[in-house]
Symmetry: C2
Subunit: 331 residues, 2 copies
């Protein structure tokens, strides 16, 4: 859960018997190393480190200009300067440099989103003994991941919060709800299937196991935990009735991700959902959004913040992550 947690949440979850996860996609190599140092020192249980593995896009002046034109009314309203956008943390893919940092820690599990890194890079990770998992949003993706030798596959149902992990095709009508995707994948692969999407409490865990999952991935429910670094506007949204209205949007990063519907999504969406043809390729949309987000958040508003959430935020609790993990009843 890049952007809303660091090693502390992962430590609490692992020490409580779950598989805590450190999101690496938004960390510089120095910070990644520091976080892994903390994480590995504070738990002797298994943990996971997650990375994106997209192909960085070529920057397009034309697309960026279109994007900035779309955002200009908001910049004007907030008194911001479109010609003065600082570079901020993007979303970097997993590279050999990342692997250099990781190698010293040999994390028990390394997971990927948006497919898998190149074969030589994957071989390095496998070579030092990490188990490898990745997300599938369709049956085809699950079969492809299995053919690449992953140790387990995450069936990411359409209810899930944050970025959709699709990588073989980008037609969103191929994406299925957990109740449909999970049985398709469980029936087709031999490796363990981890269910994700809409699982928020012990009842959800039990349901996923009934559908054949070997384990579950729970994200949204942890967003209000003491150890999460979820922002105040994000926490407020999760606790409000607004949390019941999420949509897939590409407006914050350039790729479809599920978040609570807010002003940016309402005002820049085209047709159904909150997908816009004006957003540049992932992750380039983030640049021009950052100043809007910062200015709005300073004023206590989440109008321009990615309020990532799955469709089921009913499991969010303002408690420690260990207590939440134990409440899920896997152990």
């Amino acid at each position: 859960m890049a952007g809303v947690q660091d090693h502390r949440l992962a430590v609490a979850v692992s020490n409580a018997g779950g598989l805590g996860s450190l999101p690496g996609a938004m960390l510089s190599l120095d910070v990644l190393k520091a976080e892994l140092t903390q994480l590995s020192a504070k738990t002797d249980k298994n943990y996971n480190v997650n990375f994106f593995c997209h192909t960085p896009p070529l920057f397009s002046e034309a697309r960026e200009a279109t994007w900035r034109t779309a955002l200009k009314p908001f910049y004007d309203e907030l008194g911001l300067d479109l010609n003065n956008i600082p570079s901020g943390p993007g979303r970097t893919p997993f590279t050999h440099e990342t692997a250099d940092v990781l190698e010293a820690f040999r994390p028990p599990v390394v997971s990927f989103h948006f497919g898998l890194p190149a074969a030589d890079l994957l071989a390095r990770v496998r070579g030092w003994g990490s188990k490898i998992i990745s997300s599938a949003t369709t049956l085809q993706e699950a079969l492809w991941l299995e053919s690449q030798g992953v140790d387990a596959v995450i069936a990411q149902g359409l209810e899930a919060g944050g970025h959709r992990g699709h990588f073989l095709d980008h037609d969103l009508t191929h994406q299925m709800g957990t109740f449909a995707l999970l049985p398709h994948i469980v029936q087709a692969v031999k490796i363990p299937v981890i269910a994700a999407g809409g699982i928020a409490d012990a009842a959800g865990v039990k349901a996923a196991l009934a559908l054949g999952a070997a384990a579950v991935q729970v994200g949204t429910a942890y967003l209000l935990c003491d150890e999460a670094t979820t922002s105040p506007v994000h926490r407020a949204a999760l606790k409000s009735a607004n949390a019941r209205h999420t949509a897939l949007t590409n407006l914050f990063t350039g790729r479809p991700a599920r978040g609570i519907v807010n002003r940016l999504m309402r005002e820049l969406s085209e047709g159904g959902g909150a997908i816009s043809s004006k957003a540049p390729e992932f992750p380039l949309a983030t640049g021009a959004i950052a100043p809007l987000r910062a200015a709005a958040e300073k004023a206590g508003s989440g109008d321009f913040s990615p309020l990532w959430s799955g469709q089921n935020a009913t499991g969010c609790r303002e408690i420690g992550a260990a207590a939440l993990t134990l409440s899920l009843g896997m152990r």
Copy 2:
């Protein structure tokens, strides 16, 4: 499941211990009476009769012209005459005339889609002792239905096949997958909740019960049953890999419904999914589609047929409906 079954499927399900359902929305009053006569004679168990309760739209010459213009290339290709469209069975809402037929049978359960009929009409049904159920696609709809005194509410998750039942608002981003919708409704209402959407087999039933459902509604899995009147092209699609790709479309009737993606959906969709602004209001789209469908089906093609299916067709079996019902493991 209007259009793909008659009393025979309902009889088989009820006699096997499920709640068989007769779809009334596409039946003339005479046929409805004949079907109820058969159904009530062939089972002494509980059964359900289902009706739509939409407000019939005003016919618009302009919208019909737009629709026919959109369909003209297909009419030309199949050698059909756009000026010679026969009137066929539409989708009639539940009226006092329907209630007059129903009253003689006092069905144990009457269910509605698209909300509920007017209060006086609902009072008649309640007055002769039928239990009343209806579908909710959002928490708000479930609370509204409970406030109207329904005996149980169906939580229709986004995976479900056929028509979405939404009636309080038409923003499709409010629709949730079963894993998210079901817990929201279970936690909020006191009446029994029936889970629908993606439930295809005993594992799905177990999962829905784990999430707090009192019962489940299974549709798609019955479409290949011996007693279903599912057309040959529809059966072929359900048995093919195409069944894994469904989308919501308003092209066949005017309201969003989930079906297997076929040529009409691919070629007339706008943006994501298969929703078109050119289709007239429900159920007026059906008129001009019917000749295309008939001509294509005669040639063995489902290009213009509504191939209704949920996202999870893995439970479809070419067996008797009694055996399928028993395999679901509710009893």
